[in-house]
């Protein structure tokens, strides 16, 4: 930190004012969404909306959870949350499982075409799913995986970014530990389970958090491949609750749903802040 002597007095207060202003600007939409989720429909429709929460908290959230928007275009929030949790965990676990093992194979064994596989992985690094969205839809449809959890999960774990990350991490594990394990008689899988996984604990946890949030916040892919509202995930599902011009959008319920869509990732980020930040800075660099 470059806190300096000059920081006392006016500069000090200005710094806090600036930061507080930034915080407020970031919180503002969130706050209003929260307020909107606790007032009645008419209070929203006839602006200005009050700036302080109302008393409709349980009504709105209850309605969102149980009915959604009465099943017109969307399922209940409860159902969507279930779907989202399943998909997010599926993506996080799936991605970590396949990348950790393949990174292990690439780093700790010598087999032909190793370099080839490494470049193969490299190619998948920064091409997001949006670029290959339509053909992927075709592939998933041809497997009959539309409207299924696996269809939601598999395309999103296909890029080998995590494999790359784990590879980088494994390169930092001292050779001597592997040698000691070999001398101790550990076969590759024993080394993998008894030593490599425990050593990688923090990395695994951090990556899990990042992938969970990534999976949770998916929008385009679930939008495309779920035609059955009961398979909606919460992020795309909330959007579907917003009617077109003809329908009147039930804003309080929509906002309640939005809050519930936002909250789990926010809670994770804040409570696991250190771990999460470490995962971000390690994984994106």
């Amino acid at each position: 930190m470059s806190g300096m002597v000059e920081n006392r007095g006016l500069n000090y207060w200005l710094t806090h004012v600036g930061l507080t202003f930034g915080v407020l600007v970031l919180f503002f939409p969130l706050w209003l969404a929260f307020v909107a989720s606790t007032v009645t429909n008419s209070e929203v429709i006839h602006p200005p909306m009050p700036l302080w929460p109302g008393d409709q908290f349980f009504v709105n959230y209850g309605r969102a959870l149980i009915e959604g928007d009465s099943g017109q275009t969307s399922a209940s929030v409860a159902r969507m949350l279930l779907n989202t949790v399943t998909v997010a965990i599926g993506i996080a676990v799936g991605k970590i499982a396949i990348s950790f093992t393949s990174a292990f194979a690439i780093v700790y064994f010598r087999f032909p075409a190793r370099k080839f596989f490494f470049w193969l992985i490299f190619l998948t690094l920064m091409l997001p799913v949006e670029v290959r969205i339509l053909p992927t839809y075709e592939v998933v449809a041809s497997f009959g995986m539309l409207n299924t959890y696996s269809g939601l999960i598999f395309p999103l774990i296909a890029s080998a970014t995590a494999t790359f990350l784990f590879r980088q991490f494994f390169m930092t594990v001292p050779d001597e530990i592997v040698e000691a394990a070999r001398i101790d008689g550990a076969r590759p899988m024993q080394f993998f389970i008894d030593i490599l996984i425990p050593i990688s604990r923090t990395n695994l946890a951090a990556l899990f958090l990042i992938m969970f949030i990534y999976g949770w916040n998916q929008y385009l892919w679930p939008l495309l491949m779920t035609t059955d509202p009961s398979m909606n995930t919460i992020i795309m599902g909330v959007e579907q609750m917003i009617g077109g011009q003809d329908d009147v959008t039930p804003w309080p319920v929509v906002m309640a749903a939005s809050m519930m869509a936002m909250l789990p990732p926010i809670i994770i980020v804040i409570s696991m802040q250190k771990l999460f930040i470490r995962g971000l800075t390690d994984s994106d660099k």
């Binding site: 393949s102 194979a105 920064m126 395309p155 494999t163 070999r182 590759p188 930040i277 800075t281």
Partner: protein, 293 residues
């Protein structure tokens, strides 16, 4: 540097790498390859017939005024989002870095938007500016300004930029703060003793030392603006009004999925693939120099 220690055998590693390989081939390379294939054809959306057209799809795209416009839209959109979200984040990071105590609290208070999906960010901001019920649009109405982003191009663009920027500030803030905190205090103190006041110190020492982080963030933000903002645009404007907020990736979706023009959409995907590929190479050549292979 090659790791010099390894286990013997080839069967086990082959087994271990198979799941990743399978999934990547089936759900990544095959679709990517298909996109390239389709871009050279005029596939009928019902799969009944296809006709090889060579580069015709690409020629058509570059002659299409809507597509060219989409390029401009994307360029403007991504540069503005990058500029603003990085600028604001840098400002906040510099402020937070100056604090000896309390930076942690601000960090917590500023980091959470990262967890909010861009689509939700879009919904939140759309709510604020809703033509009938939005709080801000209502106040603007009181001041005499009739806000309607559903009709006005510039307002639509402005709104999606604001929502996308809002969503991205915390990510940039984290990296900038980390970059600032990595600068050795001794250098800054030496400059202060040499008589440099804050702004001079900032421009001549801090900013140059921050350039790897800055460069890295520019690339990441451009990629973000290209792709992750789909959710923002789809929720607020759906590319409108009149395709004025249709960025390239949105067009891939709307032409392909809504318009059912698979060949054109595939060609657009290929073009995007090239652009991102270029950005990736840039990223690795200049930013990841310290990564050893």
């Amino acid at each position: 540097m090659e790791k010099r220690v390894y286990f013997k055998g080839w069967f086990l590693p082959a087994l271990l790498i198979t799941p990743q390989l399978l999934i990547t081939i089936v759900f990544f390379f095959y679709p990517a390859g298909t996109a390239i294939w389709w871009s050279l054809f005029n596939p009928d959306p019902f799969g009944l017939s296809t006709k090889f057209v060579g580069f015709a799809n690409f020629d058509f795209l570059f002659a299409d005024s809507y597509y060219i416009e989409s390029f401009y839209t994307t360029a403007i959109f991504s540069s503005l989002v990058t500029f603003f979200s990085m600028g604001i984040a840098l400002y906040l990071a510099v402020l937070a870095d100056r604090l000896i105590k309390g930076a942690g609290i601000y960090k917590t208070l500023l980091i959470w938007p990262y967890a909010v999906a861009p689509a939700i960010a879009g919904i939140l901001w759309m709510f604020l500016f809703d033509t009938q019920t939005g709080l801000i649009s209502w106040y603007l109405g009181l001041l005499g300004y009739d806000w309607n982003h559903l009709l006005n191009d510039t307002e639509a663009m402005g709104l999606v930029i604001v929502a996308s920027t809002w969503s991205r500030v915390s990510y940039n803030f984290l990296f900038f703060l980390a970059g600032l905190q990595a600068i050795p205090r001794a250098i800054i103190e030496a400059a202060a003793i040499d008589g440099a006041r804050f702004w001079r110190r900032f421009w001549t020492i801090i900013f140059p030392l921050l350039s790897p982080t800055t460069f890295f963030l520019v690339v990441m933000n451009i990629v973000y603006a290209f792709f992750d903002t789909f959710g923002v645009i789809h929720t607020i404007t759906k590319g409108g009004p009149g395709q004025s907020t249709t960025i390239l990736v949105y067009k891939v979706y709307s032409d392909g999925f809504v318009g059912l023009d698979l060949g054109s959409s595939a060609a657009q995907s290929v073009i995007l693939l090239v652009i991102v590929g270029f950005l990736t190479i840039l990223q690795f050549k200049f930013v990841e120099k310290k990564v050893h292979y």
